[in-house]
């Protein structure tokens, strides 16, 4: 019966999805358990901070600048209709600090650093480097996975903050320098509307959560990848797709909790 087969297929997929979430959670707990070692050998984290954080700087800064400039342009076009161009700074700053900074930076981070992490660990597994480590009684989670995890968690809030800061200057450049919105009201209305704890710290918290989720997904997919060329390429694709969807869904939930009733 085709109907029964279709339902069985749905059930199989659901069980598989729940199973993978459970395995990823166990993997996350394992990473936390073995993190002590990687903090004792901090240069491992620093090396990973270079390849995840520093190497993502260019894409984050350029993207932040252009997102801020587009916000300035579009915000001006809309606010002009209501004669409140002076609120342009508020719009640009709140949009970046609350939403676009953490979310777009995390999406870029997932495709720039997350996919690289998955491919690297997947290939390590395919070329049996991980098995070799186990043979030498070196725990691969403590030596390879945990430093990458902490590097991702540490660099994500910094990247999001830089994205927002550069974006605000992009909005300033288009709004004040190019279009000619009053500079004083641009900054003063922004400062009056953006609250440090409500807006900036919640944005930092968001990016921290996104950083954790993206790196756990990327590392799990790499560690779990079938040790073939096809398996590694499939795992890399899954990392980008799953973590992008996870970021956007989590963002809705976090926004609903943080900014409800404001």
């Amino acid at each position: 019966m085709p109907a029964a087969r279709a339902i069985r297929e749905i059930g199989h997929r659901a069980i598989n999805a729940v199973w993978r979430i459970g395995m990823a959670t166990r993997f996350f707990v394992l990473i936390l358990m073995y993190s002590g070692n990687s903090f004792r050998r901090f240069h491992l984290i620093i090396k990973e901070l270079f390849s995840t954080g520093v190497m993502s700087l260019i894409i984050i800064i350029v993207a932040g600048l252009f997102v801020g400039m587009v916000l300035g342009l579009q915000g001006y076009e809309t606010l002009k209709r209501y004669g409140s161009e002076s609120a342009l700074g508020v719009m640009v700053a709140l949009g970046l600090v609350r939403e676009l900074g953490p979310v777009v930076a995390a999406l870029l981070f997932a495709s720039r650093a997350g996919s690289a992490m998955t491919a690297e660990i997947g290939l390590m597994k395919a070329t049996e480097q991980i098995s070799a480590m186990e043979m030498m009684a070196v725990n691969p989670i403590a030596r390879i996975v945990a430093p990458r995890f902490w590097a991702g968690v540490i660099s994500m809030p910094f990247l999001a903050a830089m994205f927002s800061a550069v974006g605000v200057f992009g909005g300033y450049f288009v709004g004040v320098v190019q279009i000619g919105v009053d500079e004083g009201s641009f900054w003063s209305q922004m400062q009056a509307a953006v609250d440090f704890r409500e807006d900036i710290m919640n944005g930092v918290l968001k990016s921290f959560v996104f950083g954790t989720v993206v790196t756990v997904i990327a590392l799990y997919e790499g560690y779990d990848a079938p040790p073939t060329a096809e398996g590694v390429s499939g795992a890399t694709t899954r990392t980008v797709v799953t973590s992008s969807l996870a970021i956007l869904m989590l963002d809705f939930i976090l926004t609903a909790i943080m900014f409800r009733g404001n």
Binding site: H43, I46, K47, L49, F50, G53, V54, L57, S84, A93, V97, S155, P157, F158, L159, A161, M162, S164, A165, V166, V168, W187, M190, Q191, A192, V194, D195, F196, D199, I200, V204
Partner: protein, 154 residues
């Protein structure tokens, strides 16, 4: 890559990230304008606060002198009780009057203080007795229509 260059780049990255956060806090957010100096609390009753919100500014002669800390409905008088924290550098006489004003036509609402002539100064916990409520547009239009109707009847 050599260890020292690696450390340098990661150092630049971390310092840049912290600088971005500080810039967001100071230039974009309100941490730079927070009152770090000491303050004292006074309160006032308004029959209607309009759109006044906590953290709204309190100004005297246009100068920021404090912030609204809390707004509640007093159940004995059925009036809004507004708690204000004023910068202790500034002193106001006991008969200072508080008005709810609007900055610009559609701007935010704030409290404006006008100093009276009395010698004694407001202390922490005191009440400002002279208040003027927010102007509600519907009431204003209602009054205008009423007076127009009276004019045409005469």
């Amino acid at each position: 890559m050599e260890r020292t260059t690696l450390d340098l780049w990661v150092g630049i990255f971390v310092v840049g990230g912290i600088a971005a956060l500080v810039m967001l806090a100071m230039k974009v957010g309100n941490l730079g304008t927070y009152n770090v100096s000491e303050s004292y609390q006074v309160h006032a009753y308004f029959s209607n606060i309009g759109g006044l919100k906590p953290k709204a500014s309190i100004k005297s002669a246009g100068v920021l002198v404090g912030r609204v800390t809390d707004i509640t409905l007093d159940m004995d008088r059925y009036e809004a009780k507004v708690l204000m924290s004023l910068d202790s550098r500034y002193h106001f006489s006991k008969d200072t009057s508080a008005k709810i004003l609007t900055s610009g036509l559609l701007g935010e609402q704030y409290i404006g203080l006008e100093v009276g002539g009395e010698e004694e100064m407001l202390k922490s916990g005191d009440e400002m007795t002279m208040t003027q409520s927010a102007v509600v547009l519907e009431d204003l239009i209602g009054k205008f229509l009423f007076s127009k109707a009276q004019e045409s009847a005469n």
